[in-house]
């Protein structure tokens, strides 16, 4: 321990020097960049940087939080992104910043009794939302295969367990045997990596889980830089450029809904969806968080999310929770509905129901 701390005085002096050099370098360069960014002629510099390096521009690195930008800054930011994506993927890419409609609170309902676990929603989501593919694939929906449980306890196992004994005596607490059969709706023994020839499998049901778009989102509370926030239509969004990649939100989310880009995303150009939204499916970069946005690029323009359109059994319903005529409200009015992990007090707007 002490040996490790005792470093050679010469070496430490070198370290100090190099640290000082480094700090000096960082200070001067970032100061220069800040000056450049704040100048009125920033646009020209941006153009220059763009043409020099289409990968990452200086201006993009130094841009502010998108929500706090002026209209002019937003326009510039979007033009930068469109130019970069179009060059990178070899097709004309649009980045929308259309605002959420007023008087709308988005909600989702999923019929647990209908879901057959075919995972089409998972892959439809990837087609729509430009997630990383292949080895480093990122999927926003996780389909859990859950055993229905052995409700019929068997008489043969009556003797297999044993009552738990303690030094205070036998309280009749059962261990093993029938006591260890999961029964009813339980996530005990849930599988997400199942590889079946055909679904639905007998004695199992399926539960897709994605971002629950909480009314009190713990991820938003955890974010130290407010890169993730709840918009006025109730959808939790991320400004990928403002995200610092600390992954606090991932820890805070009780639904395992958030995914982190550990490396540069692997998105083949031919599979890239060129209709994107700033807070939605525009291609992400290394070191940022992403998650389901209820397909913000579609739903803000009136169209249903991609997972709903792919579901072959019609288990997914989407709509405006403020409109009593919407599909979701009709489900809430007539079916038995529950929220996942309700006890956390997150108030999700993603409802599960038994149809």
């Amino acid at each position: 321990m002490s040996e490790e701390n005792n470093t050679n005085p010469e070496e430490s002096a070198d370290l100090d020097n190099s640290r000082r050099d480094f700090l000096r370098y960082v200070c001067t360069s970032s100061a220069a960049a800040l000056v450049v960014a704040s100048e009125s002629s920033a646009a020209a510099v941006v153009e220059e940087a763009n043409s020099a390096d289409a990968e990452v521009t200086v201006a993009e690195f130094f841009q502010g939080h998108f929500v706090l930008m002026s209209d002019e800054e937003k326009k510039q930011a979007i033009a930068r992104l469109e130019k970069r994506y179009s060059a990178q993927y070899g097709k004309k890419t649009t980045v929308s910043d259309v605002a959420a409609p007023d008087g709308v609170l988005f909600g989702y309902a999923l019929d647990m009794s209908k879901c057959i676990g075919c995972r089409r929603c998972v892959h439809a989501c990837a087609e729509e939302n430009n997630q990383s593919r292949g080895e480093s694939a990122i999927q926003w929906i996780q389909v859990m295969k859950i055993p229905k449980g052995n409700i019929s306890f068997s008489a043969e196992e009556l003797e297999k367990g044993y009552p738990e004994k303690s030094r205070f005596g036998d309280y009749g607490v059962q261990v093993g045997g029938n006591a260890y059969h999961p029964a009813g709706l339980t996530t005990e023994g849930a599988q997400s990596y199942y590889q079946d020839e055909a679904v639905p499998d007998k004695d199992f049901f399926y539960m897709p889980v994605q971002c629950q778009q909480c009314e009190k989102p713990p991820c938003v509370k955890a974010c130290p830089v407010r890169a993730t926030f709840r918009d006025h239509a109730g959808v939790v969004l991320i400004d990928y450029n403002w995200c610092i990649g600390c992954r606090m939100c991932q820890l805070a989310c009780p639904y395992h809904a958030r995914r982190f880009n550990w490396g540069e995303p692997n998105l083949p150009a031919e599979e890239m969806n060129p209709k994107t939204h700033y807070f939605g499916n525009r291609p992400r970069m290394k070191g940022v968080m992403e998650k389901c946005t209820f397909c913000v690029q579609r739903t803000r323009e009136g169209r249903n999310p991609a997972c709903l359109e792919a579901c072959p059994v019609g288990a997914r319903k989407f709509g405006n929770l403020l409109d009593p005529e919407s599909d979701v409200r009709k489900v809430l009015a007539t079916k038995r509905v529950f929220r996942f992990k309700e006890e956390f007090g997150t108030y999700p707007k993603f409802f599960y129901y038994i149809g």
């Binding site: 057959i116 995972r119 590889q195 679904v199 209709k275 005529e325």
Partner: protein, 276 residues
């Protein structure tokens, strides 16, 4: 002479039926072989929507020129439709729907459906649809609706005396019009198009029908807005096969591949519960 003529027509009919079935199976086999070898080379073009053989659909390139979207994108492993570039391609208006004057009424003003008639094998054998054979002469109209053993259509109903719908209470001609085989028929004898099966299914399956009208049962794609938005509705027979519901309610489907395992993990055996 007439008898001979009739026999020859039936033979031609049966042969063509075999031919079509054979072609169909050949196509499926070649598609499967192609998928296994060249998975990423080119997009899958022959796809199905809900289940295989129920609602087949083919891919159109550049259906949305603004973004270069194809009409659909299909799974490379199963051929299932995953993504719609144009959700309204090939749709027609749903047509007149009976009004139900309570809070469960559906909003069908902007409802479109995919027509079912192009998917019916026998309907498309001749220029007059089913009437090509069921014209009252080649195959005479039945005198009554009593169940009998059919000598045709075994591919649809294997044993007509054990029709797998209604548990013995339903016979073909309770839903198919005896006088106009191109149409379905409800209990009052109204002719109903094959494109509007919901109007006949709903006569018995009222609870599901009300849920369907409300947008709870079944599937709707396109706009999410309950008023004004154009929406494509799925009709009953796009998911349910009315001839096999009892024995074979739904054909199982092949699931899409699982997510990649976390780095360093060899298998997913950690997920198995200890009771298995």
């Amino acid at each position: 002479m007439i008898c001979l003529h009739k026999a020859s027509r039936i033979v031609v009919f049966a042969l063509s039926g075999f031919l079509i079935v054979g072609m169909g199976s050949c196509k499926v086999a070649s598609a499967a072989g192609e998928n296994a070898e060249t998975q990423t080379a080119k997009p899958v073009t022959d796809c199905y929507e809900s289940r295989e053989d129920y609602a087949t659909v083919s891919r159109t390139e550049n259906a949305v020129p603004e973004y270069g979207f194809p009409s659909i994108k299909c799974s490379k492993t199963t051929g299932a439709v995953l993504w719609y570039g144009d959700p309204y391609e090939g749709t027609i208006p749903m047509g007149a729907m009976p009004e139900i004057k309570d809070q469960t009424h559906g909003n069908f003003a902007n409802a479109v459906v995919k027509p079912r008639e192009p998917h019916l094998t026998y309907f498309n054998l001749g220029p007059n649809g089913c009437k090509t054979c069921h014209d009252g002469k080649t195959v005479p109209n039945p005198k009554d609706g009593k169940p009998r053993l059919l000598s045709m259509h075994q591919d649809i109903v294997e044993n007509s005396l054990e029709l797998q719908h209604g548990r013995g209470a339903v016979w073909c001609l309770d839903c198919h019009s005896p006088t106009n085989r191109n149409k379905l028929m409800n209990r009052r004898g109204d002719k109903i198009s094959f494109n509007q099966p919901q109007r006949i299914c709903g006569e018995c399956h009222g609870e599901k029908y009300i849920d369907w009208r409300a947008g709870i049962h079944g599937k709707i794609i396109g706009s999410w807005a309950s008023d004004g938005g154009k929406r494509r509705w799925w009709v009953c027979t796009e998911c349910h096969n009315p001839h096999t519901v009892q024995k074979n309610r739904f054909n199982p489907v092949k699931p899409e591949p699982p997510p990649p395992l976390p780095r360093g993990m060899k298998n997913a055996s950690h997920e198995r519960s200890e009771t298995e």
